[in-house]
């Protein structure tokens, strides 16, 4: 270095660097403060917990106030005042007797002292005695062996005796002292007991208040809580912290492995498992069904099930967006976008199910339950899915059954070509409520060329169906039989047709009608569709036409059938049907389409040669067959030539787990990319993904459009979403015992045959009841059947139903169940009632004559001397050979059947409270009003009466059949 040379001291201006240093340090400090405060301290979930805390405080304060008010008013006030008065008295008395108490206490002290002394003395005496006894025993042994001195032994013996006496004396003294002490103690206790009792009475009344005060105190916290929750310190031991449930066995699939779910939802949803937050704003609102979910009393406690297994979403996340919340509709979407800056997270495959689809998760564990309590949407979705025959094209594991549409083997005997053409092209214009979907003139086949092509296709399909269907002779209406339409209408309304069929549009619109009430076709427009002879023949014996039909036989008389036929034939189809003339077939187009289909299996040249050899009829048949194959008509209808054809749709067994990128949204950009939006959109317009695409006719989407209401579409979507591949371990899955399995199996049959269109079974169905004003005229509740009737009888009844309840106009039809189906049903009923003893038996020999006599007296027979004091059962029930006075339509069930029909243990149960078993029944309570006995010795009477019933029926059954 050359010191002489002027060299700059610095490359930088140091004061400027200082300034930069200051500002950059400040910036760094601020950014770190921001980090700690914003990222760690001010998390949204912490804000929610703080808010919930203050809301809880408000709530507790309000409760406290209410509790205080209650204590200051009304009966509790009175009680409290009385108790306070008693307390004052007791305390006054106590004050007066304070001296007494002091004395007692002093005496207690003395007694205690004496007890202590006596105890000590006794113990010493005992110890000395025991020690000496040993010495004595040794000595005696010694002496007996010939050593030692006998005198010494005698002396010792005396000494031992003395000690024993002394020991016993001290024992007496000790026992006395103990008794004295206890007595004084009891006296003392008695003095304060009165006060204690009153105080505990007050405490009981004020318990709620005390509890609330404690709660408030813990909520208010104080300085310590504030410090615990302050920024930077809040990682040590805050009381605002993440709440989580780790569900070890409901695992989350991370592809390579499964990991336990860690549900943190209640970090923000603080009130979700608590009562009393039903009206609160989200996120604090209580779960809407706490009886079923989350609480410890429910079957799904939060510790065992968490949230995400049902609701989906990102289990570990405590941020609104990352939790993968999903809005239920556009409105909520907008609200969330504003309120929470919500957006879809695309990079998460399990967004939360919007509430309307939440029930989709039930089937993960309850797959075998056909009707699931608490899941009406899912039940409706399943019913609709089965009813409209989705599973015909879309295979779903476990779904098999008869095809949902009528057999087309006998089409030619039933309808004419023109009608079929019109129907196939647009079934809704004939019957707006039909389950038959529309295949033609939909959104991707409504351009001019497609419309023309549709005509050709419909004509070809019709041609094929007629060419291949057989003509079967119709059982004609007997000559001279004239139907009465008015009577027919009454019959249709009364006998139970409406359990499955609609007639026209119902008063409350289609939304008031359940899927079960639309089980069969709407009965309008039959005159267009077929002949009165066919209708007559069909309702008299549906199985004649289709052995697989689910239409039962109502055992109508010829006259009744004629009446109904006349009535039905008078009902017009929907307006406008058939008003337009059928277009003429365009032969050129027909040839083009035929050529197109021929080319699928041969080169163009060969196809051209082939078509030249075909007649017009051949072309139509060829085309019809190809088109039925393309549209999959055979999925729902029995069509000759398609007996072994495979379903044409995508299998849906795990559709609910399909990855979202595998759904093709086509060129549509305004549908959110979710499974449910895809399914819903598709159900609304099955061809929508073709929009804007250029496709050959055979490439086009072909799913038909079903006339479903918005509600049904949501329900079907829910059902499809329920078809997931999640595997739930046995520890969490609903495990069915033998009874429940029998129930589930039978319920499938019940659902397939629509029993619940008429009957209520458990909490489901019984839709027919809405057509009758008097609840006692509705088809009976069949839930208790298993507990009620004997299996042999039930088998017979299901095989060939007879009239049980003469007052009912609605009729149990003959379903012609097969043997094993009947067994399934009987097992189901016994399963529902959890009947363990399947074949009950009452030994009539065990019935005492006295019991029988008493039973007879209770039963009452007109003319006998004790009739006035009897229960007069004959007033309603035919029994023996005695009939009630009133017309048969008001009779009760024939009691001659009781022995054959009813289970012996069930009769007393029934008589005890018929109302509880069959709400709405006409059978009144004779023996109890709820729990109050109405007669002197009800239990005895019940048994006697039952015993008497078992003696009936020997003298021949009175015919109760109308």
């Amino acid at each position: 270095m050359k010191p002489k040379k002027a060299q700059p001291d610095h490359a930088y201006n140091i004061p400027r660097l200082n300034k930069i240093f200051f500002w950059s340090s400040l910036a760094a400090l601020l950014s770190i403060v921001w980090w700690v405060v914003d990222v760690d301290y001010d998390k949204p979930w912490k804000r929610y917990q703080r808010e919930f805390r203050s809301l809880s405080m408000e709530k507790v304060r309000a409760q406290l106030e209410r509790e205080q008010n209650r204590l200051a008013r009304g009966r509790r006030k009175q009680q409290l005042e009385e108790l306070h008065a008693q307390l004052t008295t007791a305390q006054d008395g106590l004050r007066q007797r304070r001296i007494e108490q002091e004395e007692a206490r002093a005496r207690f002290g003395d007694a205690e002292k004496r007890y202590y002394v006596a105890d000590q003395a006794n113990r010493f005496a005992r110890a000395v005695y025991d020690a000496y006894r040993y010495e004595f025993e040794t000595l005696r042994e010694h002496v007996e062996e010939g050593h030692g001195d006998h005198a010494q032994l005698e002396q010792a013996e005396e000494r031992l005796h003395e000690l024993d006496l002394e020991r016993q004396e001290t024992l007496v003294e000790f026992q006395e002292a103990t008794a004295e002490r206890d007595a004084v103690q009891a006296e003392l206790a008695a003095l304060t007991a009165a006060v204690d009792e009153v105080e505990s009475g007050i405490a009981t009344l004020e318990a709620e208040k005390t509890r609330l005060e404690g709660q408030l105190e813990s909520l208010e916290g104080g300085v310590v809580t504030t410090v615990r929750n302050s920024p930077m310190l809040d990682f040590i031991s805050p009381n605002i912290k993440i709440q989580q449930v780790v569900v070890e066995d409901l695992r989350f699939d991370v592809n390579f492995q499964t990991i336990p779910r860690v549900d943190r939802c209640h970090t923000c949803h603080q009130g979700i498992d608590k009562e009393g937050w039903e009206e609160a704003e989200q996120p604090f609102r209580s779960h809407p069904n706490l009886d079923l979910f989350l609480t410890s009393r429910s079957p799904h406690p939060i510790e065992d099930f968490g949230c995400s297994v049902c609701h989906s979403g990102w289990d570990r996340s405590v941020d609104f967006k990352y939790a993968a919340h999903y809005p239920r509709n556009a409105e909520q979407r907008e609200e969330w976008e504003q309120k929470y800056e919500w957006e879809t997270i695309h990079k998460w495959d399990h967004p939360m199910l919007p509430v309307q689809y939440a029930q989709a998760s039930c089937y993960k564990c309850h797959k075998d339950e056909v009707y699931l309590a608490g899941a009406p949407t899912l039940n409706m979705g399943r019913e609709t899915f089965e009813r409209v025959g989705c599973w015909g094209c879309h295979k779903v594991e476990g779904k098999i059954g008869p095809k949902v549409g009528p057999s087309l083997r006998v089409l030619a005997s039933k309808s004419d070509r023109d009608w079929v053409r019109r129907w196939v092209e647009d079934p809704w214009s004939f019957r707006p409520t039909t389950a038959m979907p529309r295949f033609f003139n939909l959104s991707n086949t409504s351009d001019e060329r497609s419309l023309a092509r549709n005509d050709v296709e419909v004509a070809a399909i019709t041609e094929y169906l007629f060419a291949r269907s057989e003509r079967r002779s119709v059982q004609r209406m007997p000559h001279g039989l004239r139907g009465d339409a008015l009577n027919g209408e009454q019959l249709v309304n009364a006998v139970g047709c409406k359990g499955c069929h609609l007639v026209g549009t119902p008063e409350g619109g289609l939304d008031s009608i359940t899927t079960r009430q639309r089980f069969g076709p709407n009965l309008i427009g039959l005159s267009e569709k077929t002949t009165s002879d066919w209708v007559y023949s069909w309702i008299r014996n549906p199985k004649h036409w289709n052995p697989d039909t689910r239409m039962p036989n109502l055992r109508l008389s010829a006259q009744e059938a004629a009446d109904i036929t006349t009535y039905l034939m008078g009902l017009a189809p929907a307006e406008g049907f058939g008003s337009e003339a059928l277009p003429d077939l365009n032969p050129q187009l027909r040839d083009e389409v035929t050529l197109e289909y021929l080319q699928n299996s041969m080169s163009r040249r060969v196809a051209e040669e082939t078509i030249a050899t075909m007649s017009n009829y051949d072309k139509m048949l060829f085309l019809g067959e190809k088109l039925i194959g393309r549209y999959g008509c055979y999925a729902c209808h029995d069509i000759p030539g398609f007996e072994t054809a495979e379903p044409i749709g995508v299998e849906l067994t795990t559709e609910g787990s399909k990855i979202i990128t595998r759904f093709d949204f086509g060129l549509i950009h305004d549908v959110p990319h979710t499974r449910w939006d895809w399914i819903e959109t598709k159900l609304h317009d099955p061809r929508i993904w073709d929009r804007g695409k250029v496709k050959d006719p055979q490439e086009k989407l072909r799913m038909p459009e079903f006339n479903l209401s918005d509600e049904q579409i949501t329900a079907v979507t829910t059902f499809v979403l329920s078809l997931v591949k999640d595997e739930i371990p046995a520890t969490k899955r609903k495990m069915y015992d033998a009874h429940e399995q029998a129930r589930n199996e039978g319920m499938r049959l019940v659902s397939n045959n629509n029993c619940m269109g008429c009957h209520q079974l458990m909490d489901f169905g019984g839709d027919f009841a809405q057509y009758v004003e008097d609840p006692s005229k509705a088809p009976p509740l069949i839930t208790p059947t298993g507990a009620k009737v004997q299996p042999e009888w039930l088998i017979e009844f299901l095989h060939a139903p007879t009239t049980i309840r003469p007052w009912l106009e609605v009729r149990m039809p003959s379903f012609h169940f097969e043997r094993e189906q009947i067994t399934t049903l009987v097992s189901m009923f016994q399963g529902i009632s959890r009947v363990d003893e399947r074949y009950p038996f009452l030994d009539r020999a065990s019935i005492t004559p006295a019991s029988l006599r008493r039973g007879r007296a209770l039963f009452g027979q007109k003319g006998t001397s004790n009739y006035a004091t009897s229960l007069k059962c004959n007033s309603c029930h035919p029994s023996g050979n005695v009939l009630p006075e009133s017309p048969p339509t008001q009779w009760g069930p024939d009691l001659n059947m009781a022995r054959e029909r009813l289970r012996p243990e069930w009769v007393p149960d029934w008589l005890r409270n018929p109302q509880a078993i069959q709400p709405g029944t006409r059978m009144p309570n004779f023996f109890y009003d709820e729990d109050t006995p109405l007669v002197e010795n009800p239990e005895q009477d019940l048994i006697d009466l039952r015993n008497f019933l078992w003696s009936l029926g020997d003298s021949g059954q009175v015919s109760s059949r109308r």
């Binding site: 309603c876 006075e885 018929p914 004779f926």
Partner: protein, 238 residues
């Protein structure tokens, strides 16, 4: 049917529980119900069962009209009362099965009170109630086989209960209206009614008749006053 659902909804409207307090400065209401026009001729039913007790014919009692159109069997009540005089839990309604008729034909009770059902006939009667528009099945279905039997039954469910007898006496019918508050009364044969111990305030005074449905009148009650309600005129609806 529809006619009867309407008042049920009105009855069911106040979901909060009624609170009984000592009413200070209570007022009272009094008035009269009148039918305009000729009542329809009573339907006469022929009897085929227990003729010795029931007689050969029975006349229905839907319209009991006195002098000047005074209409009996109309229930007059206040709508949606939340606070008022304590409910007299000791009061008991009576229902007699006499000569195969329910007696009285219309009565009103408050939830928590009891009804005493009696059979004065030597035949089997049962008393079954249907809650109109309720869809909840029967609330009562009690049999009385012996003459002189009485049963006391607590009343738990508000609403309009229609009473039936299923022992072949198809004509038997009566009405029991159950409220959650004590401000209700049935008009007598002179068509008059009176409601006491009403806390001051504005009310809707309602009437109910089994065929005529409901009507409503706005009414103000002042402390310590007896309010004369202008005559309530019911018309036969078509």
């Amino acid at each position: 049917m529809l006619l009867s659902i309407l008042p049920l909804l009105l009855l069911a409207a106040p979901v909060w529980a009624y609170e009984g307090v000592e009413v200070e400065n209570a007022g009272s209401l009094t008035g009269r119900v009148r039918l305009e026009g000729q009542p329809p001729a009573a339907v006469v039913t022929e009897v085929h069962k227990n003729v010795s007790v029931c007689g050969t014919t029975v006349e229905d009692r839907t319209f009991v009209v006195g002098e000047g159109g005074a209409l009996a069997n109309v229930v007059v009540y206040l709508a949606a009362v939340g606070v008022g005089r304590p409910i007299d839990l000791e009061a008991i309604g009576e229902l007699d099965n006499r000569e195969c008729r329910f007696e009285p034909h219309v009565q009103s009770l408050t939830v928590g009170q009891k009804i005493e059902i009696k059979n004065s006939d030597p035949v089997l009667h049962n008393t079954r109630t249907e809650v109109l528009g309720g869809g909840i099945g029967n609330r009562i279905n009690l049999a009385m086989a012996r003459a002189g039997t009485t049963i006391r039954k607590p009343i738990r469910y508000p609403g309009i209960h229609r009473l039936r007898c299923d022992a072949g006496h198809t004509w038997m019918n009566a009405y029991l209206l159950v409220f959650e508050h004590p401000y209700h009364v049935v008009t007598g044969t002179d068509g008059t009614f009176e409601l006491d111990e009403v806390p001051p305030g504005e009310y809707t005074l309602m009437t109910w008749h089994e065929k005529l449905g409901t009507s409503e009148t706005k009414i103000g009650v002042k402390a310590g006053e007896l309010v004369e309600v202008p005559a309530i005129v019911l018309k036969q609806s078509q």
